[in-house]
Assembly symmetry: C2
């Protein structure tokens, strides 16, 4: 049933297993941060996490699953950090731009890590649907919170069709820009500009 999915935190029975999972993701992030996608070698991850190669594959059925799961964990952390304060800005557009730029800068601070995670995300195929979906939810949630009044608890927002459509387009543009930045086809300024343009075109209020 779950044979082709990564083992999630909650599915893991024992503390030792949750710890193994954490060690694996930590090792993944560390290696990615040091040398990007290519440096995340399965043997290296296993060794650094102090786990056998076969075990690594039991927890994450492929390198892509592993990296996308790491991305999901990063987004989750970022989201819960942001939940602590209301988003500054007077308009939807301002707040969305603020949030995206803030996250973009955070990503750009660790280019190797971002390259690794982004490339994995883009290369993922249908078998990674669950992990990808988790990432998508985090992004949508972040944008929804920014689009609505500051201080609104995320759980109480009920987005309109239009909201969702707009968030989807903005998310797409953000991701496409990041991909271009990661692959050296766009500068950091270009990414910022793209977001600005897209948000202002989409959220003229």
């Amino acid at each position: 049933m779950t044979s082709m999915n990564s083992l999630t935190f909650d599915e893991l029975g024992s503390a030792a297993q949750r710890d193994r999972r954490k060690r694996i993701l930590d090792a993944t992030i560390a290696l990615a941060s040091k040398g990007g996608f290519d440096a995340v070698q399965m043997r290296a991850v296993a060794e650094r996490a102090d786990v056998a190669l076969g075990t690594l594959y039991r927890y994450f059925p492929s390198k892509i699953h592993l990296l996308v799961s790491a991305l999901a964990r990063e987004f989750e952390q970022a989201n819960s950090n942001m939940d602590r304060k209301p988003v500054p800005g007077d308009t939807s557009a301002d707040r969305v731009i603020y949030v995206l730029n803030r996250n973009t800068r955070a990503l750009q601070r660790d280019p190797n890590l971002t390259e690794a995670l982004t490339r994995a995300f883009m290369f993922a195929d249908a078998s990674v649907a669950n992990e990808i979906h988790a990432v998508g939810m985090h992004v949508t949630r972040m944008l929804m919170r920014a689009m609505h009044d500051p201080g609104t608890p995320a759980s109480e927002i009920e987005p309109t069709e239009q909201d969702i459509a707009v968030a989807k387009v903005i998310g797409d543009v953000w991701l496409a820009s990041l991909v271009q930045w990661v692959t050296g086809r766009a500068s950091a300024a270009d990414v910022s500009k793209s977001i600005d343009v897209a948000v202002h075109l989409l959220l003229r209020d």
Copy 2:
């Protein structure tokens, strides 16, 4: 100098070489069409194109270069097909939607091929910049022609900053939608809807 780029059609001296290049790209398309990204195996391409493995690598320095070059050739052909007739539709938005839907349907008719080409495009790194750029130009050109009056020769259009920004966003959304379709995260209808939404939000005239 050109050591890390694919050999382009014009760079090739002899007819035999141009023919080799064509055979390689044909073999690539055929294999991709049959089994997608994974089926495009370098040994298989070489064998089918009746070329030694080393020669294949002399023409295209990696599998990604190969597939992105194939994508560029496909777009080039599609573009020159479309140049034969004016784009139907009364408004920019209508014409852009028409063109994108037409191309989307064409891509969806061969899901394996589309999967192979899209994934390669998304996975490409900085070393594939030239090939990627070629693809980008074809897409931009296609959108520019659709945004302006039907019948205008592509060479005579002088796009404004705004035009370019809008085309960029639309291109990003189109690509992101295709990626989602390829990976089973969006249906054909979803792709169509995304394009509709993005174009109507961006080209309200």
